[in-house]
Symmetry: C2
Subunit: 218 residues, 2 copies
DNA sequence: GAATGAAAACTTACACCGCTAGTTTATGAG
DNA sequence: CTCATAAACTAGCGGTGTAAGTTTTCATTC
C-alpha cells in the first residue's frame, strides 16, 4: 500500500489507541507492531508521525496529565487548592494506572506536566511560601500521589492465604486486601493526604505567618 | 562447555551482578545475555538457577528491601518507629534507584517485602491503632517513600533554561533543580514526612487515645 | 565400584522487539 | 505541470526472553 488518499493515521489517533492498549493490557504489552495492528497499519508507519516509541509514550502520558485540574490555585486558598489538586491528580492517574510508572519519572519536556508544576509552584509562592519551601511541598505531594497510583498497595498482595499464614503473623488477613482494593487505596490516600495537609498547615502558621507579622508592614 | 567441575553460577552471584548492572546502566539495560556475559557465561545458563527473568528481578528487589530496618517497631514508640522506618526505607531505595519502579509495584511474594509489611502493620496495631487504620498508615507511608525514590523529582526536570523561560513563568529556575538534586529531594522528603507524621500524631490523640480513655479500664 | 539420574553448562532456534533504509504513490504548493 | 513532501509499504538488522535438546560432571544408590 502506497500513500493513501486520506491519511490512515493521525497523532491523536495513535495516542488514543496506545492509551487504550496500555489500559487494557499494560505498559509492557504495548509494542509498535501491536499498536500499528490495532490501527490497521504496519509497524513502521508509526514513525511517520512519531520519531520514537518514547515520543508516543510521552504524548500518552501528557494527555493523562492534561486531565489534572489545577484551577484551585487561582481561586482558592493554598490549602484547599492543594487538596483539590491532589485528588484530581490521583483521579487522573488511577484512571490509567498502567502508564503511571512511565509518567512518574518526571515531567521531562511534557507540556501538561510542566504547566501543572508551574501552577502548583506559582500558587504556593503567591500564598506566601518561600520558593524553596514551595518546591519541597510540590515535590512531597507529587511523591505521595505518584506513589499511591503506582501499583495499588492492596493489589500488591497476592490472593493466597497460605502464603501469609505461615510466616507473617500480622498479615493473616492480607489476602483479603485484593477484594477491597479500591477502598483500601482510597482510604489510605485520604488519611495520608489529610495528615500531610494538616502538618503543612501547622508549618505554615509556624513559619510564614510568623515571618509576615514580624515585618513592619505585615 | 559441558557441566563444569565447580559451578560457575550461584543464585547469589547472579543477583549481585544483576543489581550492579541495574545500578550502573538502568533497569532497561539488563538483559539476560548481558547479565550472563558479565558472569562469564552464555545467556540461557541463567535458567538453570532461575525460572524467568522476573524471578531474578524479584530476588534483586528483595535484597534491596532486605536492607530496610524495621527494628524500631519493637523498641520505640510508634511515631519514632515510623520515622526511623521511613528514612531507612528511603535510604534503601535511593541506594538503588533504578530498581525502584519494579519494586514499587507491590510486595508480591518477596519475603523481605512481606516481612517489612508484617513488622509495620504489627507495630501499629500493637500501639493501639485500629487494624484498618494501621493498614492505611502503612500504605500511606509506602506511597510517600516509593514516590520519593521513584525518579528523583529534581532530576525529572530537563536542564534546559529556554524550555521553561518561554511558557512557564514560575519555573524560570527549574533547570537549576538538577544541580541540587539530592538536597531538593531530601528536603522535600523531610518536609513531607514531618508533615505526615505531625498529622498522624494529631489523628492518634483524636481517635485512639480518646477511645481508650472512654473504656472502663482505659 | 558400577549404574543412574539430576545438575549445569552449552548450542540452536523461535517469535517478538524497536527501528532504519529504501520503495511507491498521492497530495499540495509553486 | 512540476516536484518536493508525506504517508503508507517491504525487507531486514541486531537485540530480547526463553524453549529445546546436548554433553559432561556430580551425587546418590544398588
Amino acid at each position: 500500500m502506497p500513500r493513501p488518499r486520506r491519511p490512515l493515521l493521525t497523532r491523536d489517533r495513535i495516542v488514543e489507541t496506545a492509551l487504550a492498549l496500555i489500559d487494557a493490557d499494560g505498559l509492557g504489552a504495548l509494542s509498535t507492531r501491536r499498536l500499528a495492528a490495532a490501527l490497521g497499519v504496519q509497524g513502521p508507519s508509526l514513525y511517520n508521525h512519531f520519531a520514537t516509541k518514547d515520543e508516543i509514550l510521552d504524548a500518552v502520558a501528557d494527555t493523562v496529565t492534561g486531565a489534572v485540574d489545577t484551577s484551585g490555585f487561582a481561586s482558592r486558598d493554598w490549602l484547599a487548592a492543594l487538596r483539590d489538586w491532589a485528588w484530581s491528580y490521583r483521579r487522573a492517574l488511577t484512571a490509567h494506572p498502567n502508564i503511571v510508572p512511565y509518567l512518574a519519572q518526571g515531567p521531562g519536556r511534557r507540556p501538561a506536566a510542566l504547566a501543572m508544576a508551574d501552577a502548583v509552584y506559582g500558587g504556593l509562592v503567591r500564598a506566601g511560601w518561600p520558593p524553596a519551601r514551595a518546591t519541597h511541598i510540590g515535590a512531597a505531594l507529587r511523591y505521595f500521589v505518584a506513589g499511591s497510583a503506582l501499583g495499588s498497595f492492596a493489589r500488591g498482595f497476592v490472593e493466597d492465604p497460605e502464603l501469609y499464614a505461615a510466616h507473617y503473623p500480622h498479615l493473616r488477613q492480607a489476602h483479603r486486601l485484593a477484594e477491597h482494593q479500591q477502598s483500601v487505596d482510597e482510604g489510605a490516600f485520604a488519611l495520608g493526604l489529610d495528615a500531610l495537609l494538616h502538618g503543612l498547615a501547622a508549618e505554615y502558621t509556624r513559619t510564614v505567618e510568623t515571618v509576615e507579622s514580624a515585618r513592619p508592614n505585615g
